[in-house]
Symmetry: C2
């Protein structure tokens, strides 16, 4: 009996650590291909991340401008960050929003997941929506520099159209935002102000 | 005189090669932060890639199902691939579409760019649209296994909503597809059948 994806699936035979950097961890797996031959797959091991689409009461959303060294430029992004070891996804979303923007939120809703780099990373980003925002003090990590501002979703769509906004996770957030705003997709909001 | 982003920009001081794998190349840069302190940034050096949203005459789009080892599962994706050294973006799009799906296209239009992993890769994916499709023979690379099929855009949006489709570049392609189909964004088509 063969499963429907047996002609596509690869089986991991072996794992070799390739790099343990300050930040990046890379492995090389040896896999058995569907035709029985072997190949190697190199990829980044990532703890996972979260992104927050935070809705202000006036319809704008919280955005960041941050210099991204690999891109050599300042990028437009929704607030996001890596999960600490064992950290719950919503706890991470609340922490990252507060640390990077100073804002807390009364209500939260899980939207979906975004896999940025399926060819060479196992990273998955959980996408959260937040509303009932309250401004506060931010606590950036040492060496973290970013601007926070409120943006009109229509302007962000225009930025995507004209190439000013190319960050993948943020574009996924914009698709979700558009579908939620036009009533096509629904979110299940929960009150987490006391959490 | 200070530029508007001087409070965000990092300056590269030094580059150290960290990994030269069969597939992945990783470097560690030392940078000067906006406050004058130093930090290191590790990231993947990538040649860039293309993705193709190929429109069939009946309104469906060409999709692939491919096992992605880092994700440990079969993923739904638009056809895509890495650029060869010095390869023109459209030439790469034509090549990848034909190799992976067998299809050629009469008309092409450049849509936009997608940066999948701005924290730890310099990869940028050029997004192309294609129409006037003609089926042909595909020529997969050795060790490449994937299913090709035509999909209804509305079903792909539902797959994104319900979490079956989480590939970031493909979600960006869906946003473009939706905006083009509903007339919000326009593409400049050019005839490339003879190229």
């Amino acid at each position: 009996m063969s499963a429907p994806d047996d002609h596509l699936r690869e089986e991991r035979l072996q794992r070799e650590p390739l790099l343990q950097g300050h930040f990046l961890k890379v492995v090389r797996d040896t896999v058995r291909l569907p035709d029985g031959r072997q190949a190697t797959r190199e990829f980044v091991l990532h703890p996972g991340a979260v992104m927050v689409v935070a809705l202000a009461d006036d319809g704008r959303v919280l955005m960041e401008r941050q210099y991204r060294h690999p891109m050599g430029q300042v990028m437009l992004e929704f607030p996001a960050g890596k999960r600490d070891a064992g950290e719950d996804s919503l706890a991470c979303a609340r922490r990252e929003l507060q640390e990077e923007t100073g804002y807390t939120a009364r209500e939260w809703a899980f939207a979906g997941r975004h896999a940025p780099t399926i060819a060479y990373s196992d990273e998955v980003i959980d996408i959260w929506f937040a509303r009932g925002l309250q401004a506060g003090e931010r606590r950036l990590d040492p060496g973290e520099f970013l601007d926070v501002f409120l943006a009109d979703p229509a302007e962000l769509m225009a930025d995507c159209r004209n190439g000013r906004l190319i960050d993948g996770k943020t574009i996924t957030g914009l698709l979700w935002l558009q579908q939620v705003m036009n009533g096509s997709w629904f979110l299940e909001w929960r009150d987490n102000s006391a959490a």
